[in-house]
Amino acid sequence: MSTAAIRALPRETLVNAVLALALLAAPLIAQMLDEPFYVSLATRVAILALAGVGLNLALGYGGMVSFGHAAFFGLGGYVAGITALHAFEGSDFMTWPWSVGGSDQLLVVWSVAAVVVALVALAIGAISLRTSGVYFIMITLAFAQMIYYLAISLPTYGGEDGLSIYLRNQLPLGDSNDPLTFFFVCYGLLLAALFLSARLVAAPFGVALQCARMNETRLATSGIAPFPVKLTAFVISAVITGIAGALFADLNGFVGPSMLSWHRSGEIMIFVILGGVGRLFAPLAGAALFILLESLIGGMTDRWQLFLGIMLLAVVLFARGGLIGLLAGKVRHD
């Protein structure tokens, strides 16, 4: 490691700390100024950043360019929507072989979302990870589309119209309907996911994962099979994104096929890229920048997508380090 790189390290830590504190301060100030809109905007940033943290684990550290993370985001959302629907109606999700009803408890929703998303990610990952490179991109995209069309063709759960969540799922302590409380929940989960990512990446597992990205043969030669490492990372990544999806559905009081659309996959990927691939806080920086620009430019013109396209193109062609790269210097190695 060069001396310049060593000097860059604490600077990235500093940038990360400023980002985290800024996101925490924003809704508190908004609350004081009586601007509830900005509290929900900050909550959106926290949730979308959480989805990005999930993707970053697979994409940034594992080099698995998944273009299908909307599937996990949307599945998490649908779990929240469906459990809330059954709890609201007092009906059963299934009656055979045993009776399973709904729930309006966030902790239950998150656990179910995690299990459902993990199982689906295990299946998708097991097939997709047999391939690599451009095949992997297209296959993850195709599987996400499959789940999208499945959601559209199920009239029981809203089909094309989606599902409304009439009552936000509840916390064991505190009131999740209070915007600030709900923000703290999302923010806490974001920090937990960032902490988990940091620990995972530093652990032997993370070293193996990054080695799988850089040189799979080398990893295999040193006695570690790459496939289980990558599959495990893919599933963890999907679960984090899935929990973000469940939060997003509860924030909006709605879940629909748009949460599963491939534009959503592209968007989550944009957060990671705007922030800087393979940087721990990239998703937070990217999501914050994205949401800020969206609400600023989107408020002035209908052509926000045009600006987004041009900006994304410029970042990819000319500014590959992303926002964190700009603020904290180049990445340490590679």
Binding site: R130, Y135, M138, I310
Partner: protein, 306 residues
């Protein structure tokens, strides 16, 4: 269920497959020769459809429109190749995905800006209206038959171009060793632009042809793009033959699945449930097909040695 109905559905499946082939051929060529994954291919399809219906409306001729859509897509393809795509050949797939995703956003917004939010409609030309009689009664639209014909002619033309012409020889050489062909004095940059424009033109042609069957609107290219991905993954990325086989396979699976799966489930389940389960399964049938093919052959049916 009559024989005529079965033939009609088979033809629908083939027609859908042939249309997918026009999209998949360009995608797979561009990937085979330049190693580029191009998400904006669907935008070129959309562009072809818009120019076709716009020119057809002001000139009154479907054929002028079709030619115009073909040329407009080729021109747009050449333009983005020179302006953007060229810079991406040396980049990893992630950069290619993001940059071409950005192009989709830009194209969609610009088209919405220029042509407005309302969908355009394109009429089937008088020459191709009407129906062909089918054995066992009923008829099949001449226009759909013409699409099948046009697609097969294009497939043949593409085969001849790649196998028999000088340009085709260079394309094949570029696929197997791009440094060597450059060292032998072939202008590789122009070759790449030509291949990209060719793929774009095929997408534009597909867009123009489909424009008379459905409404022409922003975003129409995206579902087709993803199906074309499924096709080339099944066929083997980089293989034009694989794209043809994959397209017809996907076209038939999708069309026949939508017709017959709900009916098949009626034998097992009550009618209302059968319709739901059947149509849900039909909507994912091609993805299941893809999963099965990949589990069996991870590099597709006709793997290309990279």
């Amino acid at each position: 269920m009559s024989v005529a109905f079965l033939i009609e559905q088979l033809l629908n499946g083939v027609q859908f497959g042939v249309m997918l082939f026009l999209m998949a051929a360009g995608l797979t060529l561009v990937f085979g020769v330049m190693g580029l994954i191009n998400l904006a291919h669907g935008s070129l399809f959309m562009l072809g459809a818009f120019f076709c219906s716009w020119i057809a409306e002001i000139s009154g001729s479907f054929w002028l429109g079709l030619g115009g859509g073909f040329l407009a897509a080729a021109a747009a393809g050449a333009l983005i190749e020179i302006a953007v795509i060229r810079r991406l050949y040396d980049r990893d797939h992630l950069d290619q995905v993001l940059a071409t995703f950005a192009l989709i956003l830009i194209f969609s917004e610009v088209v919405r800006w220029v042509f407005g939010d309302q969908p355009l409609y394109l009429d089937i030309p008088p020459l191709l209206s009407g129906a062909l009689p089918l054995p066992g009664g009923g008829g099949y639209p001449v226009y759909r038959m013409a699409i099948i014909f046009a697609g097969l002619v294009t497939a043949l033309g593409l085969y001849l171009l790649i196998a028999k012409t000088r340009l085709g020889m260079r394309i094949r050489a570029g696929e197997s060793d791009r440094e060597m062909i450059g060292a032998l004095g072939v202008d590789i940059r122009t070759l790449y632009t030509a291949v990209f424009a060719l793929g774009a033109a095929l997408a534009g042609l597909a867009g123009g042809l489909v424009g008379a069957l459905q409404s022409v609107q922003v975003g129409m290219g995206e579902p087709v793009l993803i199906l074309a991905f499924v096709v080339i993954v099944i066929g083997g990325i980089g293989s034009v033959k694989g794209a043809l086989v994959g397209s017809v396979l996907v076209g038939l699976t999708d069309t026949l699945g939508r017709v017959f799966l709900p009916q098949a489930f009626k034998l097992l389940l009550p009618a209302s449930e059968a319709a739901t389960v059947g149509s849900a399964l039909a909507s994912v049938a091609i993805y299941l097909l893809m999963a099965v093919v990949l589990a069996w052959r991870p590099k597709g049916l006709f793997p290309v040695n990279a």
